[in-house]
Symmetry: C2
Subunit: 153 residues, 2 copies
DNA sequence: CAGCATCCCATAAGATACTG
DNA sequence: CAGTATCTTATGGGATGCTG
């Protein structure tokens, strides 16, 4: 449970502001039930998803609302190279976020589309995104506010 | 509005499953009000936060529940190098997620602590984390399920 | 103690050329 | 069309040594 938020020991200092306790208790309960392996896999998925291109590709597919061919993606995902687009699509496919369909015609046609998991993930990330945008002005060292803490060991 | 989820044109194919429409409408409304600059800055913040170490460091600080010295962080953030810890801490500080306090003693003492923004961000990410862990088994190409779509142009 | 400076390497990403 | 192959460059990160 490396990344989870719950304190491991009751002997440690914890935040005592009621606000904090209220907000975090749910998540804490959840974290305590998460295994190291689950935590690690979730970490990987987050890291991959938040990389340079994946979210953008998922968004383009969502925005299109229909399967897109490789070349259409190249046009719409501005700035990506062919190699990186291919790589990223393969990763997204492996993670079950998109589906790749090859139509064995001449010339070949390949279509990529969002899976329902891909759409759901995008929704979840969008929620986080929204929170960040709403707090954009606070992400600034000059506005940093300390958290009140008291020892309770 | 590069990454937002809303379709730009009403003439495009959109998902018509009621489920989809219901779930996404809120986020769509929000996305339409997001400027390119906001979107870009949020993107940067997400990318930085989801990098290798930041979440782990924030978690360790949250878990400790009190300010930690540099050397305590080195111990608790297993596997990180001194250089990268320093770098990451500086970035977290610039983004207003932690506060660095230097006590000009001999030998010098430096303490790092979470800001309320840092704690809040951690909570938001934990929510996403939780969703991912609950759907861990679905992140698999073999379980991919297409999204139903209909043209509405 | 808490770092900065330096060197080194592994990986990510970009550019270009070629192909089933 | 939708890639693959290859080369080069940029970046992240690790290891080591030094210092106010």
């Amino acid at each position: 449970m490396i990344y989870c938020i719950r304190s491991k020991e009751g002997t440690q200092t914890i935040y005592t502001h009621p606000e904090v306790t209220d907000l975090t208790s749910d998540i804490f309960d959840f974290c305590s039930s998460m295994t190291d392996e689950q935590d690690g896999r979730a970490r990987e998925l987050i890291e991959r998803a938040a990389a340079k291109w994946p979210l953008r590709i998922l968004h383009v597919l969502s925005d299109a609302g229909a399967p897109l061919r490789f070349s259409r993606l190249m046009e719409r995902v501005e700035g990506i190279s062919q190699k990186v687009l291919t790589q990223t699509l393969r990763t997204l496919e492996r993670d079950g976020l998109i589906i790749r369909t090859l139509y064995p015609e001449v010339p070949p046609r390949v279509e990529y589309e969002l899976t329902s998991l891909g759409r759901d993930l995008l929704m979840q990330v969008a929620t986080l995104w929204r929170w960040i945008v709403e707090h954009l002005d606070d992400f600034d060292a000059r506005k940093a506010v300390k958290l009140m803490a008291t020892a309770n060991a």
